[in-house]
Symmetry: C2
Subunit: 259 residues, 2 copies
């Protein structure tokens, strides 16, 4: 098996090395990751500057770009063939609820799925003292399961692991994406020594809507959360209700022309 490992914490992060080590028994493992931390890079692509691949010995490479760049450059520029599996992580900190849309780690798995490669992202839910060994062992079990059973088409898995020793894990839960409560990105205003204002996007506190089967709820119950995510963002339920806008908007556009 050919396995590509990436992340958004950067090629030198501890989590990616432990993850790669855990998967090595399954086949050839390549690490292709950003040359520095690119947290909250989301699904950004680098289109306006050239990218470089840097080798760090063996199958370890960095890219001066985003996690999504790494997947593209890894698959089409370095490996020249599709890996059998892409695993992104182990992320320092959870990727739960709406945060999946900001996450570079989840986006690397998203890009892998877009390219038709079975992919999952894995995150350790903690602020420090990361118990990466737990996530790494689970990543191996999940990778074996995917190899055996395969994933549904156009579906990636977003895995979050409580920061516990393996014996503390209460079980595995298939979940849905939770929802944070509003003020997560509150802005912090400061003044610099020259009297000019500047702003920080504030830290996110772990507060979320009560929702059965959410990723947040699983973590709170000391369970590993696996959320299947889709590539298609269409809200099909809204198509029907918006259908009657078509004629009205068309008339208004034409009326505007005639005035």
């Amino acid at each position: 098996m050919l396995i590509l490992v990436s992340n958004d914490d950067g090629v030198h992060s501890q989590g990616i090395r432990i993850l790669a080590d855990a998967l090595r028994g399954m086949g050839d493992v390549y690490i292709i990751a950003p040359d520095r931390e690119r947290s909250a890079a989301s699904h950004a692509l680098t289109l306006h500057k050239p990218l470089r691949l840097e080798n760090y010995g063996g199958n370890i490479y960095s890219v001066n770009g985003t996690p999504t760049d790494c997947i593209n450059l890894g698959v089409n520029g370095l490996l020249h063939r599709k890996p059998d599996l892409i695993v992104s992580g182990i992320n320092r900190g959870g990727n739960l609820g709406d945060d999946v849309t900001y996450s570079g780690t989840v986006s690397a798995a998203f890009e892998g799925t877009l390219l038709g490669i079975p992919s999952f992202a894995i995150s350790q839910v903690a602020d420090d003292n990361y118990k990466f060994e737990t996530a790494a062992r689970f990543a191996l079990q999940l990778a074996l399961m995917i190899k055996e059973q395969s994933l549904p088409a156009d579906v990636l898995l977003n895995v979050n692991v409580p920061n516990l020793d393996i014996t503390g894990i209460k079980g595995i839960k298939i979940t849905r994406q939770g929802k944070r409560i509003y003020d997560k990105n509150a802005i912090i205003e400061k003044v610099d020594p020259r009297g000019k204002k500047y702003y920080w996007i504030g830290g996110s506190r772990l507060s979320w809507e009560e929702m059965e089967d959410s990723d947040f709820a699983a973590i709170e119950q000391d369970m590993i959360s696996i959320t299947p995510l889709r590539l298609d963002l269409t809200e099909y339920n809204a198509i029907k209700s918006l259908r009657n806008w078509e004629a009205t908007l068309d008339e208004k556009m034409k009326a505007k022309v005639m005035i």
Copy 2:
């Protein structure tokens, strides 16, 4: 009405000014946009450096960050209240199919919706000679429609406008997100004067899967495409099929501990 306008082409782009002008009759319009082009920035947030707001006269501001930063800083740092509407665009070039997940313009509307504000993104499908007037006029009609009818909760609209005069527009179509054909991000390899390789993420050609009601199909028929998008990425169809993985994975984790 308080209306916030943003984009990913930057505060100095022509499309954002024409859009703001078109909406001005509806209320107070603020432009808060990146200080330079941030195409393909996706839903990235700037967490590791401070952000600055720069005023360009009147209600026009730039931010040294991503479109998502602009929405956050605009709503929570500058306006200190929720706008009644967020409009992102007019983007230079379409945001169709999978490209919505890379788009900074769509992500600004996504962020607005996350913050509970009715939001849409609007893009002019062309490579040059942009007929922004057509998109601007439609943006006004759509904004009036949203004011009157409101949007379903947690739904944003992704609008793509063919590059035609208004009289050339064949109609309005509620669509679903199309799907590009694989090799869109092919990698272009080059060698620098010092013999070292570098790479470009290649241009995307307009090739897509045949699919009824897709955004691509509407544009091909000279129709304005409106795709309702969702915030929740959960693939609910996969939850059931993956449910039987829970026990198996749990056993494997435990077995691993006992060995």
